[in-house]
Symmetry: C2
Subunit: 186 residues, 2 copies
DNA sequence: GTTCCCATGTAACCCGTTACATGATTTT
DNA sequence: AAAATCATGTAACGGGTTACATGGGAAC
């Protein structure tokens, strides 16, 4: 049983939702550390229903396509509980194409590398804006404590990478001092 | 063309290698931010050869299975260069099952949660040991500067997560002060 | 009044993972 | 002498991504 499926059980333990709602909800909560495409959500829901971990009910809607709303079954709740209390966890999966390019940076000109670093920093700063907004929105809600702390995880790591960028730029400066161009002096 | 394939071109720009060697080399270099299973390496090498980006030569060996050693072709070197100089990069993919469980921690007892945090910390500390060893081994080698800095990326993020754990434990202490048990007082 | 966005989903592809194979060498 | 490790790979499965479909409402 995949982590994505178990994550869906977790979300359904909060409230009943349709696939679309689950996907949207996941985007704004688990999205930073467990992204799930809508397609995956739908497929896993089908499987979870086949396995009896969730029960779906078709709900007709006016002006909107009919939807299928899912709720946890007792079996599903039990399975969720098993997973959460079982010790251990898979080691984090991390893939960073930026770092792969960076690793081979001797094939890149220094100025291009600095642009890469700037782009990377910009992406991180955007992440931080989003994460801070998430944290702020649930500040003070005691029910959301773990969600807020999970977002704080993202904040910590992004800030660490910003510090890393500074370290890299320092190393580059030491190696290849920036010579002022005519434009810079103007 | 997948990032893994391009990463292999990058590794082959260092020196000619067989699939097995590439896999071992990748494990100790790109492994922290772009893991590649051996199987994947072999399949991508086949494709790269079909596409003319690498050329393979069978090398018979005594007491060891024959191997196929690959070298970059001109086309491959060009493709690598294109990739490295093209602006932009895919956004980092991050999946952390620990955080998913943590997100649903209201279903876990506080003591179990503390065990989870301890396990997470232990894994991070092991990462740091490995990363520090990597950094130390190539310290001072100017050719390995980017590799060293990439490893430093890992160091920064792991340390940030350790700081996060401390923040979480503080939050838990504030919420549910640990009551000393008979054993603790003994 | 086109064009974009919302709300709902299905289908196909492919990268990444896990399992399988094999014979020599080293370790217990 | 059995078991683990090394050095080389192939094959199959499945989770995750991308592409496709649809019809109403909102925006420009």
């Amino acid at each position: 049983m995949s982590t994505s499926a178990l994550a869906l059980l977790g979300l359904l333990s909060i409230r009943d939702m349709s696939g679309y709602e689950l996907s949207a909800f996941a985007d704004k909560s688990l999205g930073y550390f467990w992204p799930m495409h809508r397609s995956l959500v739908y497929r896993e829901l089908r499987r979870l229903e086949d396995a009896g971990h969730v029960a779906g009910t078709d709900v007709p809607q006016e002006r909107l396509p009919d939807k299928r709303v899912y709720q946890l079954t007792d079996a599903g709740r039990t399975r969720l509980q098993e997973w959460l209390t079982a010790p251990g966890f898979e080691s984090p999966r991390y893939r960073n194409e930026f770092l792969v390019k960076f690793f081979f940076a001797r094939h890149i000109t220094p100025d291009r590398l600095r642009v890469f670093l700037d782009d990377y920093r910009a992406a991180l700063e955007q992440d931080l804006v989003d994460l801070d907004a998430t944290v702020a929105k649930i500040e003070g809600d005691p029910d959301a404590m773990f969600g807020r702390l999970a977002a704080r995880h993202g904040v910590h790591t992004r800030q660490a990478v910003l510090a890393w960028i500074a370290e890299v730029e320092q190393a580059l400066d030491d190696l290849l001092p920036v010579v002022p161009t005519r434009d810079d002096r103007r």
